[in-house]
């Protein structure tokens, strides 16, 4: 049965779009039919990260307003044929989204795909609440710092109150994706510890994605990191996350600083 997953955070710049692309590509590489939907109307980015910006003709708003049919707007990925993108409009704003229109698009997508991954805009306004409205599962992207954690907490509250599942008395399944985790800074106590974040948010941990050059490099060439550098540590963290989303259970490993021989000799003094 199709699953609708929303990638959300409240705060901007924590890695929602990067994570949407990476998780989408990881699930597609596991053989699932996946569509990633950009809900950030007016500030679309997902097409760039997916490397599809030169092939956008119609978008989510066109489909909602009936100007285009859904298959016309879907862009199939060049590297993975079972991965598609539904881009956002750059010229409209979030008021162009309607609750009935979004419901219709999501139910059409449910017939064609196994996973529908909605990339939520930042904030708690209409765009974000519509992106989460039909979700069965939510991935809450959080950086290990206080403002991001508090905003995530706010979003979790909204997931429990404002979604279709909440209105039906059910619960949206929630997962924490800790991104931009810097093992060196964590060791020096300059970042919130993983346990502290988990204690505050009290939702299960999906994976920890370390801060990495590879993520930036992948965005710049327009490829999800799970396609561009599948052996890199961030890509492996996203592959683990995709496995856990599909129901596999295994322990989350907290990334540690990789130090050379000299680092191991002298590292203690700094720490």
């Amino acid at each position: 049965m199709a699953k609708v997953l929303v990638v959300t955070s409240g705060k901007g710049g924590v890695g929602k779009t990067t994570s949407t692309a990476a998780l989408g590509a990881a699930l597609a590489q596991n053989g699932k039919r996946v569509v990633v939907v950009d809900f950030d109307v007016g500030l679309r980015n997902l097409d760039l990260v997916m490397g599809a910006e030169r092939r956008v003709v119609f978008d989510l708003i066109n489909v909602i307003h009936g100007d285009a049919k859904l298959p016309q707007a879907l862009i199939r990925d060049k590297r993975l044929e079972n991965l598609s993108l539904l881009p956002a409009s750059q010229t409209r704003d979030k008021d162009a989204l309607t609750i009935e229109g979004v419901a219709r698009v999501i139910s059409e997508l449910r017939e064609k795909f196994d996973w529908i991954i909605c990339d939520s805009p930042a904030g708690i306004e209409k765009g974000a609440t519509l992106a989460m409205h039909h979700a069965d599962t939510a991935v809450i992207v959080t950086n290990p710092e206080v403002s991001s954690v508090r905003d995530s907490d706010r979003i979790i509250g909204l997931l429990d109150a404002k979604t279709a599942k909440a209105a039906a008395g059910e619960k949206v399944e929630k997962h924490l994706l800790l991104t931009r985790y810097d093992p060196a800074r964590a060791a020096r106590g300059e970042m919130l510890k993983v346990d502290d974040v988990l204690e505050i948010l009290s939702i299960p941990l999906l994976s920890i994605v370390p801060e990495s050059e590879e993520v930036l490099r992948a965005s710049n060439v327009g490829a999800p990191v799970t396609l561009n550098a599948p052996q890199s540590t961030p890509a492996r963290a996203y592959f683990d996350a995709a496995k856990r989303l599909q129901g596999e259970k295994f322990e989350v490993v907290v990334p540690e600083e990789r130090r050379g021989f000299m680092g191991r000799l002298f590292g203690r003094r700094v720490a």
């Binding site: 708690i124 206080v146 508090r150 905003d151 907490d153 706010r154 979790i156 509250g157 909204l158 429990d160 109150a161 209105a167 039906a168 008395g169 204690e199 505050i200 009290s202």
Partner: protein, 205 residues
């Protein structure tokens, strides 16, 4: 007793906000809807009942509307009811349950308001969340947000928490912010109460 007003969408939004503040308010209670304000737009009435049912509100009757409008699937029409304002005033002395128990964390931006008794939270209260009680506040978790006790003028109310990281504590209008709470109590089980005109915060050991 509910008195929906047009436009219905806005009224439902307000209802949602109210239900978010006190989620248990309508739970299991028989509710009567006064539709006087909606009499001019009878076509919205059927949709209203679906909207209310979706929120778990059980209607036992309606009033203030033409009998012709009520279909077979609508609750029975009541007549002879009194206006909402007089009923509300008369109902006050009736004994409400004196405590509210929530078995979930209170998230940032959420506000739990219970003016007529104690509030017990099994879980943490996040930074940016608030719990407001007419009586005492009990938090079996970490208090990172605001706790306001004795809001209806009850100076004997107290605040208890398993771990104190509060942004603000208030009892009967007197308050202390995080800056004014002794640093050695941070992260400890603690309680707060009023001694005369000042608030005392002490460990719970």
């Amino acid at each position: 007793m509910l008195a929906p007003e047009p436009p219905l969408a806005e009224w439902l939004d307000e209802l949602d906000a109210q239900m978010q503040r006190s989620p248990a308010y309508f739970a299991g209670k028989p509710v009567v809807a006064d539709l006087t304000a909606l009499a001019a737009v009878p076509e919205t009435v059927a949709g209203l009942f679906e909207s209310l049912a979706a929120r778990g509100i059980r209607l036992v009757g309606i009033e203030g509307i033409e009998p012709a409008v009520t279909g077979l699937d609508l609750p029975p029409l009541l007549t002879g009811g009194r206006a909402l304002s007089e009923v509300a005033e008369e109902e006050k002395p009736r004994s409400e349950p004196a405590s509210l128990l929530l078995d979930m964390p209170v998230r940032s931006g959420q506000s739990v308001v219970f003016g007529t008794g104690d509030v017990t939270i099994i879980g943490s209260v996040a930074s940016g969340a608030e719990v407001v009680a007419g009586g005492s506040v009990h938090i079996y978790g970490t208090l990172r947000g605001r706790a306001v006790a004795g809001v209806a003028g009850n100076g004997t109310a107290r605040i208890f928490c398993r771990r104190l990281e509060a942004e603000l504590l208030a009892i009967d209008g007197l308050y202390r912010t995080a800056d004014d709470i002794e640093p050695q109590l941070r992260g400890k089980p603690a309680q707060a109460w009023l001694a005369g005109d000042s608030m005392v915060v002490a460990g719970l050991d």
